[in-house]
């Protein structure tokens, strides 16, 4: 069956990876998951996805930010839309974000994301790219 597009989810919480995978697969996307930034970048290079969901805080507070920065610097990955997932509650954590450079992120979502919202945003991001 032809898919609506390929999505990569990078999150160190395996449950969230699985939940998002099942949700997006139910809407016809082809989904893969990675549990850390390095693995995520490697999987992007092997098979370029149409959209990446990226958790901000993994092993390091800025791992997600670092991954998106690396993506924007590499010629083969820079044009993949990135949606950041955060569980930021207050401005305290904003200190972790580099403020001296524009963040190369298309959208920020706060966890937990409602499933229909997740599907809508994925369709929008992949659709606008095509």
């Amino acid at each position: 069956m032809a898919t609506k597009g390929k999505i990569l989810i990078v999150d160190d919480d395996p449950d969230l990876c699985e939940i998002m995978r099942l949700a997006l697969e139910s809407d016809g996307f082809e989904v893969r998951t990675a549990s850390n930034g390095t693995q995520g970048l490697q999987m992007m290079r092997e098979d370029k996805p149409d959209l990446v969901f990226l958790d901000v805080i993994m092993a390091h507070p800025t791992e997600g930010v670092d991954v998106s920065a690396t993506m924007k610097e590499s010629p083969e990955l820079w044009d993949i839309p990135v949606i950041m997932l955060t569980s930021i509650l207050d401005t305290e954590y904003l200190g972790h974000f580099p403020t001296d450079q524009p963040l190369s992120v298309d959208q920020f979502l706060t966890k937990p994301v409602a499933i229909p919202e997740l599907i809508r945003i994925a369709n929008q991001a992949v659709g606008s790219k095509r």
């Binding site: 919480d13 969230l16 139910s26 092993a59 569980s87 509650l89 207050d90 305290e92 937990p112 229909p116």
Partner: protein
């Protein structure tokens, strides 16, 4: 900047002031000589002007020298030379005044009382001993002048309007003058010195007080800084806790939403609910650990402690955990020394220490492995150790294993769920009773966690 002793600074300022004052004296002497020469035509104006000129010359030299010293602010040279510098000036001034007196009537000259000014200067600038010697020297010089004039060794310049030409040879007059001048000088020295000494003591007291105030305020500033850092640490801790609590709740909500929203096949629904249940359990564990963590802080600080036999507590814990170890095909061996002193602590918390260490060893050791728990005394300490042949901890992670919410990558890979608080609880409990924790490990070979607590000094029961 080198700090100058204020009294030394004062001395330097006084010397500058002395030099300025001497210019006034030079001018005053010139005017005095000119006026006096009108009244007393016999006055030897030439020698008097010469002496005044000599004063002006040496004062100029002093002024230049003082200026150069002032440029070298903060160097030790000034500190060492200033008292000598002052002594030289006062000595020269004395000789100059005696010379002026000699050329202007000697014993007849009423301005001999000016010697008192020099004595007061000396009292202000020099030590008590030195100023006393100056007073003595002044009296001696004065008497020497009178006697040499009396004996004809030096000529006498009479002031006819003030005294008869033979007055300087009148011994009773000379004796009275000598006595009056000597007593005046010595008394002036004694009074001025004692006033100056009292002022100096008071200045030093003030100085000491202000220094101790400075030290106090520095201490307060440091304490304040420490409190501020504690506050920052606490805020960071709360933020982290909130983040850690939010993660499982978010996962549970999403899992339930996915299930209830009809996105899943029946088998997948089952699996999602199981995942949600596991996360709820994780949340409960985390809350339990957090409570224990905060309790560890409180009890240790309120001194709620009693003698605890760690061996008995250990026996209890091992009994509870043996099944878990056997289920995983692990050998759990206990090695307790025959005599181990009790420690002052809370028994419940000691149970928590053993439970956390042993359950960690069980969790992170592959089936077939060995766990050895030991308890013994080392000097004034009771030492507990838990060794395992588990997955070990990477060298770069080792310093962080006791941090709250830290979990090493290898630990996460083997056991997905964990609060990351267990070892933090152990550390906090042990440290709150004055002990220390220690971890060593080699990746892939195993780990060794140990703690030491001070032996309780319980008075032995009286012999029956």
């Amino acid at each position: 900047m080198i700090e100058q002793h204020p009294l030394q600074v004062e001395l330097v300022e006084r010397i500058d002031w002395l030099i300025r004052l001497r210019w006034v004296a030079v001018a005053g002497t010139l005017i005095g000589v000119l006026v006096a020469s009108q009244v007393e035509p016999q006055l030897p104006v030439g020698p008097l002007i010469t002496v005044t000129a000599i004063i002006a010359v040496y004062n100029l030299i002093f002024a230049i020298y003082a200026h150069r010293l002032n440029l070298r602010r903060g160097t030790g040279i000034r500190r060492r030379q200033s008292p000598i510098f002052a002594q030289i000036q006062i000595g020269l001034d004395l000789v100059a005044l005696i010379a002026l007196l000699h050329f202007a009537g000697g014993v007849e000259n009423p301005f001999a009382v000016f010697l008192v000014f020099h004595i007061i200067n000396a009292s202000i600038l020099l030590s008590r001993r030195a100023s006393f010697l100056v007073a003595l020297a002044a009296a001696t010089l004065y008497v020497a002048m009178i006697l040499t004039e009396y004996g004809g060794l030096l000529p006498h310049y009479n002031l006819p309007r003030l005294a008869a030409p033979t007055r300087y040879r009148d011994l009773s007059y000379l004796a009275a003058r000598t006595l009056a001048i000597t007593v005046t000088l010595l008394l002036a020295e004694a009074m001025a010195s004692s006033i100056v000494a009292r002022l100096r003591a008071r200045t030093e007291d003030l100085l000491r007080i202000s220094q101790s105030h400075e030290a106090k305020s520095r201490e307060l500033e440091e304490a304040n800084q420490k409190l501020r850092q504690l506050d920052i640490a606490r805020t960071r801790f709360i933020t982290t806790v909130t983040h850690e609590l939010r993660a499982p709740v978010g996962a549970i909500i999403s899992a339930l939403e996915l299930t209830l929203g009809g996105y899943l096949t029946p088998e997948k629904q089952q699996e999602m609910i199981r995942r949600a249940q596991a996360r709820a359990q994780e949340l409960l564990d985390l809350i339990r650990d957090l409570l224990e963590l905060s309790k560890a802080r409180q009890i240790g600080e309120t001194g709620y402690e009693q003698p605890v036999q760690l061996a008995a507590v250990l026996e209890n814990v091992v009994e509870l955990m043996r099944v878990e170890a056997e289920n995983k095909d692990l050998l759990l061996s206990v090695d307790v020394a025959p005599v181990v002193s009790p420690v002052l602590a809370d028994a419940g918390q000691m149970k928590s220490v053993w439970t956390n260490l042993i359950s960690n060893a069980i969790k992170y050791t592959e089936p077939g492995g060995i766990i050895v728990v030991s308890l013994k005394e080392e000097g004034d300490w009771v030492v507990g150790t838990v060794r395992d042949t588990g997955i070990g901890i990477a060298a770069e992670d080792l310093p962080r294993v006791f941090d709250e919410f830290f979990r090493a990558e290898q630990a996460k890979a083997l056991v997905q769920r964990g609060t990351g608080v267990g070892l933090a609880i152990v550390k906090r409990i042990i440290e709150s009773y004055g002990g220390t924790v220690h971890a060593e490990s080699e990746l892939g070979k195993g780990s060794r966690f140990s703690f030491r607590l001070p032996k309780a000094h319980v008075p032995s029961p009286p012999a029956a």
